[in-house]
Subunit: 162 residues, 2 copies
């Protein structure tokens, strides 16, 4: 059975816990949040799916930017002083407010995952967890456009907050 657009609804499988309760001052990406520890709490009905995950050093958290404002197609990113096309940035104000972070997996706990390098707001709805697989995901030499020469800013302000 083909799914239709009417079925395109997401639901939280858990909640991300982090030290960051305000948007301003948060690290912009996990790489700037190396020390920040937190958790990916997974609701009981989904925990069986965590089996075998402890062998992975990193996992992708797929989450819902629940504090993102209205979508904008042109944004001034945190790490630049020029406006850029939204899809050339990781800004949260997207048509689909889906966020993506590769975090370090510290261990599995009773209620989910203990993680480090968390760059998301405390209370963020978690949509999915995927294993980080270097064969699929790691392209260390990939050219990265305007981000090859970014501003040295590593924390956010509240420009995209609602």
């Amino acid at each position: 059975m083909k799914k239709t657009e009417a079925d395109m609804r997401v639901r939280p499988i858990g909640v991300i816990r982090s030290p960051f309760t305000e948007v301003a001052g948060m690290p912009i990406q996990p790489v700037f949040a190396k020390e920040a520890e937190g958790a990916a709490e997974v609701f009981p009905e989904f925990r069986e799916g965590l089996r075998d995950i402890e062998g992975f050093e990193r996992v992708w958290l797929v989450y819902w930017f629940h504090r993102a404002g209205e979508p904008k197609l042109i944004v001034k990113p945190f790490r630049d002083d020029r406006e850029r096309g939204l899809f050339a940035t990781r800004a949260p104000c997207r048509p689909n407010t889906i966020g993506l972070s590769a975090v370090r997996l510290l261990g599995v706990s009773r209620d989910g995952l203990r993680i480090a390098g968390v760059d998301v707001l405390d209370g963020t709805p978690l949509l999915d967890i995927k294993p980080y697989v270097p064969d699929y995901d790691a392209f260390p030499k990939s050219r990265s456009g305007w981000l090859d020469n970014p501003l040295r800013r590593t924390t956010s302000d509240n420009r995209f907050d609602t």
Copy 2:
């Protein structure tokens, strides 16, 4: 304004075009689909957001696994002969059927992006495009659990198709 669960709906921003019209025989990940060229068609109302993207060598496609069956928490992945926890796999039958592929950006066309290394079905709804940024995304030495010794299978069969 905080968004509520009632707002957690996604909508396509475009459609992925690929040579793959059937699930069986598809490459499992972009790394096994190096030669497969395709397109990320972006609907006209979102194209302004593609500005500046041509400087990136790769982009993340975030998409909706529109042919995924019912969610399963334990699956037998393509690359293993043992059952694994869903969140330790990239199988499509997830609570939120969101897929993720790092594809090579060949260029920007009138109606979206020309891409290579496409491992998704033709007609897949596109939810988001994000720039691939090695600083955020590339961890080439990351340990990858059971996938450190996977089966040598590189194409899928139809076990997760509906």
